[in-house]
């Protein structure tokens, strides 16, 4: 069969080539797992430690810099990935980014048997800080908190062409999740903790839709968005880069004032 070009073709390809049917039961099972992960993480010691220490992090940063770390009344929320977004991610892994197609990708096909542990952001949360240096400051604090709870974590300093800047922390937890019939099983699942600045949060909401749209396109031969100055993504994405630069400048001015 030809390489699937969209989600509908991908569903048919999964059925024809891998004998996998995607239906409301698949979605129901995914939602049940996502919901369980969220409920368990919400009541976990590590999450409650992070929440209870946010104020201390803010106080420490304020003492060090004379500026607030967090935006007023900030409280992070846990958000589960929707099934459509989750399924689209498997499309990208199996098809769009699979250079071996029609053979499996380097790590094998992503199928219902392994797709939960192969997805690192089924549950994610967002921390919003006021200044650029607050991103790394908070990252280190959260990393320490994770270590104190005996949890490993990895960090990624995201800087995308689309003007997206943030730190993504990934921590692995064991969760007791439902199987499709009735049993449960323990799986190690990654949680994504994003840390970004207030300005990047605003621009991120604008640019994310363009990023989402482009990454499922198979045909990448279109004129690059960087040359299409009339497109919406041109303005929104470059705004992301400009704001990141401006935030760097703000830090420089702030540090100069501190030295005086």
């Amino acid at each position: 069969m030809d390489k699937p070009r969209n989600i509908e073709e991908y569903k048919k390809w999964l059925k024809d080539e891998l004998s996998i049917t995607i239906n409301s039961r698949t979605e129901n099972h995914y939602n049940s797992i996502a919901n369980k992960i969220k409920a368990d993480f919400l009541s976990s010691k590590v999450w409650n430690d992070i929440l209870s220490q946010l104020n201390d992090y803010n106080t420490e940063y304020l003492a060090k810099t004379n500026y607030q770390l967090l935006v007023t009344d900030f409280k992070p929320e846990l958000v589960t990935k929707s099934f459509s977004s989750f399924f689209e991610k498997t499309f990208r892994k199996n098809i769009v980014f699979n250079k071996n197609f029609p053979k499996p990708p380097y790590n094998g096909w992503v199928t219902p048997d392994n797709w939960i542990e192969n997805t690192n952001d089924i549950l994610r949360t967002f921390f919003v800080v006021k200044y650029l240096d607050g991103v790394e400051f908070l990252m280190e604090k959260i990393q320490n908190c994770l270590k104190q709870n005996s949890l490993d974590c990895k960090n990624h300093f995201e800087a995308r062409d689309e003007g997206y800047y943030a730190v993504h922390l990934y921590t692995f937890n064991d969760f007791d999740i439902p199987k499709i019939d009735w049993d449960t099983e323990i799986k190690s699942i990654s949680i994504e903790l994003q840390i970004t600045t207030q300005l990047q949060e605003v621009i991120g909401k604008l640019t994310h839709q363009f990023y989402e749209g482009r990454r499922v396109k198979l045909d990448k031969s279109d004129k690059k968005w960087q040359w299409n100055y009339e497109s919406e993504e041109f303005t929104a994405n470059y705004l992301g880069h400009i704001l990141h630069y401006v935030e760097g400048m703000i830090m420089e001015v702030r540090n100069k004032q501190l030295k005086k």
Binding site: N23, S24, N28, S32, N35, D176, P178, D181, W182, T184
Partner: protein, 148 residues
């Protein structure tokens, strides 16, 4: 909500904040959407610690079924025609004598069904004494509508 519904919910350990939540969902289907509600079912499973985890809430009448997905955290409702509209079902069970309708602590049941000409269907889990309720739901609303 009918007394029998509350009694059923109590037998599967639903109490506290969850009861008024279910009452609200019942009111949504019964008063706001103006459907007659004849029966209720809560899909659930047992976790490793032996506690019940509630998933989806179902209501039925002879013509329709109604689902509140992940009802303890979300407000996501749908409805589908049931009457003569089932083209596939599958029952999986363990340690549940469905003929004599007797359950143990290890009883588990899973009912999957599909609506005609659709990728939509239902998926219900039951543990312990809730298997009896799922068996009743199957015979009253699913089996009867599995027709040519």
């Amino acid at each position: 909500m009918e007394k029998a519904f509350i009694e059923y919910l109590e037998t599967i350990g639903i109490k506290g904040d969850l009861l008024p939540k279910i009452e609200n969902i019942y009111t949504f289907f019964e008063k706001y959407l103006e459907y007659k509600i004849e029966n209720i079912f809560v899909s659930e499973y047992i976790n490793k610690e032996g506690g019940r985890v509630y998933e989806n809430l179902w209501f039925f009448n002879s013509d329709f079924c109604f689902e509140a997905k992940q009802f303890n955290t979300q407000e996501d409702f749908d409805s589908c025609i049931l009457k003569h509209n089932i083209d596939y079902y599958s029952i999986k069970k363990t340690d549940f004598d469905i003929i004599s309708n007797s359950t143990t602590d290890n009883s588990r049941m899973n009912l999957e069904f599909h609506f005609k000409n659709s990728s939509i269907g239902g998926d219900m889990k039951a543990s312990r004494e809730n298997c009896k309720k799922l068996s009743e739901i199957f015979k009253t609303y699913i089996k009867i509508n599995h027709v040519k």
